[in-house]
């Protein structure tokens, strides 16, 4: 008899076999500590900060519970920031969904073998390069001296670009100094996060659902509306959670591309830095959390997570 079997009750594996609850605990403890202390802890600290206020005279944080900081959110200028960010996030999300769907549909239903690999590569590759590099690259592309203006001139549609830039609010001196530019860059940067979940959802729609629908008399258009779209919706919602929340929180793109009007992210960045108003910065950070909370509740009501 070998040494290992002389003690039939020895060994760590045997111990865990008999106490499977302890194994679960041992496996879960590190991630639980991480999510509990580092992750939720810092969120809680943030929430706590938002209930403090800044002494306007001394510029010091007053560690007393108050709602005055939240009250500051409702001043006209701060409400504008929130509205601007939410509208941008919503428009970026809708545009991403519209752009992503056909791409995801092609990849899920028609691309095979090498084409599928190419699709994944094309969608994922932009994620491998630095975010900042991509944003600065876009600044150059969108600039007055950039390739878009140049191409528009060559194609004799410079007037179209000028007309676009002349539109009030969203226009500007050039694409890279307008909301249109900010919007384009947001859509470019977040698009993969919309394509991938949409594609995954479409992939899960079995081919014979489409055949069954046709068999029951539905034209391709009807099948798309009544079968494919409802079944892909959870994926689109999942993608929109990414595009929406990432846009709500981003503070770099609006600083580099756009007309320098503040978004929530840039406001937080300025408040916690130069202004030193940590409580208001914290209160601002709570806004996207609340907006996302509402958004997820509505999405859940719509059954977006039924298929998960």
């Amino acid at each position: 008899m070998s040494a290992a079997t002389t003690d039939p009750r020895g060994g760590l594996s045997d111990f865990f076999y008999r106490h499977s609850g302890l194994l679960t605990l041992a496996l879960l403890l590190p991630p639980l500590l991480w999510i509990g202390i580092v992750y939720l802890g810092s969120l809680f600290a943030l929430l706590l900060q938002s209930f403090y206020s800044l002494d306007e005279f001394s510029g010091l944080v007053v560690h007393e519970f108050t709602l005055t900081t939240y009250g500051h959110l409702f001043t006209a200028s701060n409400l504008t920031i929130i509205l601007r960010t939410a509208v941008m996030a919503a428009v970026v999300t809708m545009a991403s969904a519209i752009l992503a769907f056909p791409i995801a549909y092609y990849a899920a239903r028609y691309a095979k073998g090498g084409w599928k690999a190419l699709f994944y590569l094309a969608v994922m590759m932009p994620l491998w390069s630095s975010y900042l590099v991509k944003v600065y690259a876009w600044k150059l592309i969108l600039a007055k001296e950039g390739i878009i203006t140049w191409m528009a001139e060559k194609l004799h549609i410079g007037w179209l670009l000028d007309a676009l830039l002349a539109v009030p609010v969203i226009g500007g001196s050039s694409l890279s100094f307008s909301y249109i530019g900010t919007f384009i860059v947001f859509v470019y940067i977040w698009l993969p996060y919309m394509i991938l979940p949409t594609q995954a959802a479409l992939e899960r729609v079995p081919k014979n659902f489409i055949e069954a629908s046709a068999d029951l008399g539905a034209s391709p258009r009807q099948t798309f509306r009544t079968v494919i779209l409802p079944l892909a919706l959870p994926g689109v919602i999942a993608g929109s959670i990414f595009t929406f929340s990432l846009t709500l929180g981003d503070y770099i793109i609006p600083q580099i591309v756009g007309n320098s009007r503040p978004f929530i992210g840039t406001a937080v960045y300025a408040l916690q830095g130069t202004a030193g108003d940590i409580p208001l910065a914290a209160a601002f950070t709570v806004v996207p959390v609340v907006i996302m909370g509402f958004y997820l509740t509505i999405a859940r009501r719509m059954g977006a997570f039924d298929a998960l």
């Binding site: 079995p206 055949e211 046709a214 008399g217 079944l231």
Partner: protein
């Protein structure tokens, strides 16, 4: 009156693969027609050609006298019960059944009433608010059936519809399908690899192999008179006797099929009755199967299987026995 479904020299090739190869067949109105064959034999492709999911590479298909080539599935008055049912998971059972009617633009109260009737027909009344995921396999199968039948198709196509069910349920559904077909008078075209199912349910069976129909006829006909070794083997089990052996034991000089249940065992002291032929051999194995006992006998190097009614004989392995059959149980076949 044109046939319900008519194939004239229909082929469907996928690259080099001839999934369906020059198939001609006529399915009569009101017939319960089974397409039987091993997987990859072309039977499912034939069904998909009728449904319109596939287009023939060559040949001509008619459904109730109308040319079917080029007609998309949604313009054919044919409905399918899919192998894995393909119920829409985002709809209730009632919505699933009413789907075809909704697409046709039938008003909500009318299609709901019709869906309820269809569900009642498959004994699932009261399930209309459930989701397909809340149903058992047998129930889903019934929903798929109701969803197809509610459209009153001219031809109902069933693609291995009972394949996923357990034995008891399958036997029950076989009965119900048969009764339903009789009651509705709709032409049923049924694809299966289960020969027992095909024999028990269909009026007529077509046996497929390698994209071709190798034999078609009534269940009794294909079972009793297999025309080829493939059919003899695939439909039930059979002893395929070589020409010389057959000629020496009551048959003609041709490859010959002898069904195991047609063989009797005669005790050594008993004389063979007139008109009977037999051979002595050693029992190689005895396989008790409840209703019958299968015995394999080694007769001068030829292995012969016999199926004996249960409880009739207590035969031991290694014993020497005489197998007997009458000449008309020997069925000469065209090809080996």
């Amino acid at each position: 009156m044109p046939a319900a479904v008519s194939f004239q020299h229909v082929s469907r090739h996928f690259g080099q693969v001839k999934a369906v190869d020059d198939v001609s067949l006529d399915i009569a109105r009101g017939e319960f027609f089974a397409m039987l064959g091993p997987s990859g034999s072309g039977k499912t492709t034939c069904l998909r050609l009728i449904a319109g999911f596939e287009q023939p590479t060559s040949g001509h298909i008619e459904i109730f006298g109308e040319t079917a080539e080029g007609l998309p599935p949604y313009k054919r008055n044919v409905n399918t019960v899919f192998q894995d049912y393909a119920l829409f998971p985002h709809m209730t059972v009632g919505e699933n059944v009413a789907y075809g009617l909704m697409i046709k633009g039938v008003s909500r109260p009318e299609r709901e009433a019709k869906a309820l009737d269809a569900l009642a027909m498959v004994k699932l009344r009261g399930f209309e608010q459930r989701r397909p995921s809340q149903l058992s396999g047998g129930q889903r199968q019934r929903v798929a059936l109701a969803r197809a039948l509610v459209n009153q198709p001219k031809v109902l196509l069933l693609d291995e519809p009972l394949g996923a069910l357990d034995l008891k349920l399958r036997e029950q559904m076989q009965e119900e399908l048969k009764a339903l077909q009789k009651q509705l008078g709709i032409t049923f075209v049924f694809v299966t690899h289960d020969q027992g199912e095909a024999l028990s349910m269909a009026n007529r069976v077509a046996i497929f192999n390698d994209g071709r129909i190798v034999q078609a006829g009534s269940p009794a006909d294909v079972y009793e008179r297999p025309r080829s070794r493939f059919v003899a083997d695939f439909v039930g089990s059979s002893n395929v006797l070589p020409p010389d052996f057959a000629a020496a034991h009551g048959g003609t000089r041709a490859w010959t099929s002898l069904r195991p249940e047609k063989i009797r065992i005669v005790s050594p002291d008993e004389a063979l009755p007139s008109g009977q032929f037999g051979i002595m051999g050693r029992v190689a194995s005895v396989n008790y199967q409840g209703a019958m006992t299968r015995v394999a006998v080694d007769a001068n190097g030829t292995r012969i299987a016999a199926a004996l009614p249960a409880g009739l004989t207590a035969i031991q392995e290694g014993e020497t026995v005489t197998l007997a059959w009458s000449a008309d149980n020997l069925v000469a076949m065209d090809a080996a």
